[in-house]
């Protein structure tokens, strides 16, 4: 997408950054008049996407960043969560349930995961602001 993001955020890829992103996303949702359930779903999906970055993207210990771009439309919100890490690599996690991506898939209208040629991962998520769960 060549359109400029309505909101962009770059934060260190550390656990404490996840709440900052979640609160920012929550504020965007409320400004757009999203319903309560959509706000909750978008906060959860954004959290899971950013958690994946913190846990898996920079597994070699390099300091890295999480980049979040938000694109608002009348009835939907698109979030792009980007890192510049090692790409989608399975990593052992002490007590992980492997629920992150399945949750994101369940919460989004559309989900696209790209691994750009220049490295990293881009997770693009689109949400309805008024009815977050697509009809079965």
């Amino acid at each position: 997408m060549n359109q400029a993001a309505d909101v962009s955020l770059i934060v260190p890829a550390v656990p404490d950054s996840i709440a900052v992103i979640r609160q920012t996303v929550s504020g965007i949702c409320e400004a757009l008049g999203a319903d309560t359930r959509a706000v909750g779903d978008i906060k959860l999906a954004a959290t899971e996407a950013c958690t994946n970055v913190v846990l898996h993207a920079y597994a070699n210990g390099d300091a890295g960043t999480i980049e979040v771009d938000a694109y608002a439309a009348e009835d939907e919100l698109r979030l792009l969560v980007r890192d510049h890490g090692a790409g989608m690599t399975p990593a052992p996690m002490a007590e992980g349930l492997g629920l992150g991506l399945p949750l994101i898939a369940a919460l989004t209208s559309t989900l696209t995961i790209l691994e750009p040629e220049n490295g990293g991962t881009e997770v693009s998520m689109t949400f309805s602001l008024r009815e977050s769960t697509p009809d079965p």
């Binding site: 609160q23 359930r37 958690t51 629920l99 949750l103």
Partner: protein, 123 residues
């Protein structure tokens, strides 16, 4: 930190031990929750109270499932308080993940205490 939650562990005045989460919880508070559960590794039961919790993610669910698994290995109860007044986001993630069918769930802390006491009497 914005949105950070609190974790309070109480020995509960003669009752069963309770870990109560308030506010929002994610990867940043998961280690503290894991530590609180570790402190109760020898307890005869554990109650997780989510009535004042406004957000949890899969990191927190992972810690709770780990606690449930270890409790089952010791054959002790590990229950969750999640009532009608709980935040919709908490009920939502439990339903989405199917964990509302995995954890024994009580509507109030008092009912959890009473339920565990009845189990103790019949055990």
């Amino acid at each position: 930190m914005t949105g950070a939650g609190r974790i309070e562990a109480t020995a509960a005045d003669g009752g069963w031990p309770v870990i109560a989460l308030s506010g929002e919880h994610d990867l940043s508070t998961a280690p503290e929750l894991r530590a609180r559960l570790h402190d109760l590794a020898e307890a005869d039961a554990v109650i997780i109270d989510l009535d004042q919790t406004t957000f949890v993610d899969s990191s927190i669910l992972g810690v709770l499932v780990g606690g449930l698994r270890r409790a089952r290995e010791r054959d002790v109860p590990f229950v969750v308080v999640l009532g009608d007044q709980a935040h919709p986001a908490i009920r939502r993630i439990f339903e989405l993940t199917g964990l509302h069918d995995v954890f024994p769930i009580y509507p109030t802390r008092g009912q959890a205490q009473a339920g565990l006491s009845r189990q103790g009497e019949t055990a």
